[in-house]
């Protein structure tokens, strides 16, 4: 049986230690003074999606080919894509309209995972408040497109991995193309050879 009141006194000691400790120990005061102090976000941190483009010109370097996989897979269906067409009405491999309604988006990153062209990625910008409930929260292509350099700035590891993968893909494709060209060249060479050496030689 304890002396009555001891439990209460222990509690008072704990709170007093926290009161004094908050002036001395730094790790007790975990609050950040937001506009002045900004948190250093971990690399994996994510807010809303954006589109990556290579090089300088957003339109030219756009990786998106308007395949609409992200539009289909997006759980809350917040992505809206219309494919671009040329003057003849032939579909082009780029979107004419690419909108993301970030008031609906739930930052789940599924669009990033399903994108086969490494085009859509997660941003880390969290200061997106606006006075307009609908208009300014729908991000269109001009607001969504951000350079690969920006992507390297916010997710360095992931971006270099992506670049390496794209590079590998390109090399593979080039190799395939080269092989194909080689094969084609060989074929023509053989044909030429055949033409050069008339059939009678094989007799």
């Amino acid at each position: 049986m304890n002396f009555p009141g001891i439990g209460l006194l222990k509690g008072f000691v704990v709170t007093a230690r926290n009161f004094l400790g908050s002036y001395v120990e730094k790790d007790r005061l975990t609050t950040r003074q937001y506009p002045e102090e900004r948190p250093k976000l971990p690399e994996n941190s994510r807010s809303f999606p954006f589109l990556v483009f290579d090089g300088e010109d957003p339109e030219a370097g756009m990786r998106c080919v308007a395949c609409k996989i992200c539009e289909k897979e997006c759980p809350p269906q917040c992505i809206y894509i219309i494919q671009d067409r040329d003057a003849a009405g032939k579909p082009l491999k780029r979107p004419r309209i690419f909108d993301i309604d970030i008031s609906v988006c739930m930052s789940c990153q599924i669009c990033v995972e399903v994108c086969p062209f490494e085009s859509i990625r997660m941003d880390t910008d969290y200061e997106l408040s606006s006075f307009d409930r609908f208009g300014s929260l729908v991000l269109d292509k001009s607001k969504l497109l951000k350079s690969n350099a920006y992507y390297h700035g916010i997710h360095p590891t992931e971006a270099s991995e992506t670049d390496a993968r794209i590079e590998a893909d390109r090399k593979k494709k080039e190799a395939a193309a080269a092989a194909k060209a080689e094969a084609a060249r060989k074929a023509t060479a053989e044909k030429a050879a055949k033409a050069a050496h008339p059939p009678e030689e094989t007799k």
Binding site: E43, E73, C74, P75
Partner: protein
């Protein structure tokens, strides 16, 4: 809740639900299998990672998918961290329900914040993690993560000691909790209670031990259970469970092997499990979290059912509250530890 009072004594109590209802099950049935994962985060938003695990476990049971060993370790680590932060937050919330001006709550959140920082470093989001995938996890641990998790786990018992010094001997807290709404094991089982509440009533039933899902059979840990089943036992069981979680974490952080984190055979996009049905469940921090899935072989679930521990633990609320004082109702509700996102779905 509609509470009928006689003076300060409760004579009738009817919980009223549905203010947070969004028909999660219908949404999931209209989406692909993969797209249901981020929605499970929003069930019990205090502990998203265990929700992810329960759903992926059910899908893996349904499709017969294997999970690589490293992924199982990561799942156990994140689930036990989730349990820690849930139980710690519980200690704070029940004190706030008792009117203790949030000191305990703030200490609890101070520690919880550190765990959430770990989650953010791993998954990219603090609460809506969306981390687990069919047959594994989405990405591997970032470098240095295990070390910082190890540091946190090392320091955690000291924090639990501090909380206990503040709370468990406190005479006012004892008077408020002891003897309030005791529960017999038979009623608890019949009422479908699960998790810490069931064990507080003296029932030795922990799904981690019973089903041996994941790799829990490799870890040495104890399952505490109470003798009285009152609010104080429910409180203490969580404190003890948090200590056991620390033990599991210590073992898991040392023993984690190298390897892939996701089964390469598992297809995430356009995932089509074979037709059939499966019920998968895990021991969530709040109780038995189960998913009942029926597949008709297409790319979206035919039936997607959540067994929400928070809702079913409320079954006996009226029984527990009858005859108590109105102030006890808050404490009893707090001791059941519900999250409304899961109750109403």
């Amino acid at each position: 809740m509609n509470v009928t009072l006689d003076g300060e004594t409760v004579v009738k109590l009817q919980p009223v639900f549905g203010y947070l209802h969004r028909n999660h099950e219908k949404i999931a049935e209209g989406n692909s299998w993969l797209a249901a994962v981020p929605y499970t985060d929003r069930l019990d938003y205090i502990c998203p990672l265990t929700n992810n695990w329960a759903y992926t476990l059910a899908v893996e049971t349904l499709a017969g998918l294997e999970v690589p060993e490293r992924a199982e370790y990561i799942r156990i680590i994140t689930a036990e961290l989730t349990r820690l932060q849930n139980h710690v937050a519980f200690m704070g919330f029940i004190l706030a329900d008792m009117g203790a001006w949030g000191s305990a709550l703030m200490y609890a959140f101070r520690e919880r914040e550190k765990i959430l920082d770990l989650f953010e470093a791993l998954t990219g989001a603090r609460m809506m993690c969306n981390y687990m995938r069919f047959g594994g996890c989405r990405c591997d641990l970032p470098s240095g993560w295990l070390e910082s998790a190890g540091q946190l786990v090392e320091g955690f018992p000291a924090f639990l000691d501090e909380m206990e010094a503040l709370l468990t001997g406190n005479e006012i807290l004892l008077a408020r909790l002891q003897g309030v709404a005791p529960l017999t094991p038979e009623r608890a089982i019949n009422g479908g209670l699960s998790g810490p509440i069931l064990r507080a009533a003296g029932v030795d039933y922990d799904i981690r031990k019973v089903d041996n899902y994941g790799l829990y059979s490799r870890f040495k840990f104890r399952v505490p259970r109470g003798r009285v089943g009152d609010c104080y036992d429910r409180f203490m069981i969580r404190v003890l469970e948090a200590r056991e979680s620390v033990e599991i974490l210590k073992q898991a952080l040392v023993g984690i092997p190298d390897g892939p984190v996701v089964n390469p055979k598992a297809k995430q996009r356009g995932f089509r499990p074979p037709a059939g049905e499966a019920y998968g469940r895990i021991e969530g921090p709040k109780g038995e979290l189960g998913f009942y899935l029926i597949s008709d072989g297409s790319d979206r679930p035919y039936r997607f059912r959540v067994r929400p521990p928070s809702l079913i633990n409320l079954t006996l609320l009226e029984e527990l509250c009858l005859g108590t004082k109105i102030a006890d109702v808050m404490v009893i509700l707090g001791s059941i530890d519900i999250v409304l996102g899961e109750v109403d779905r």
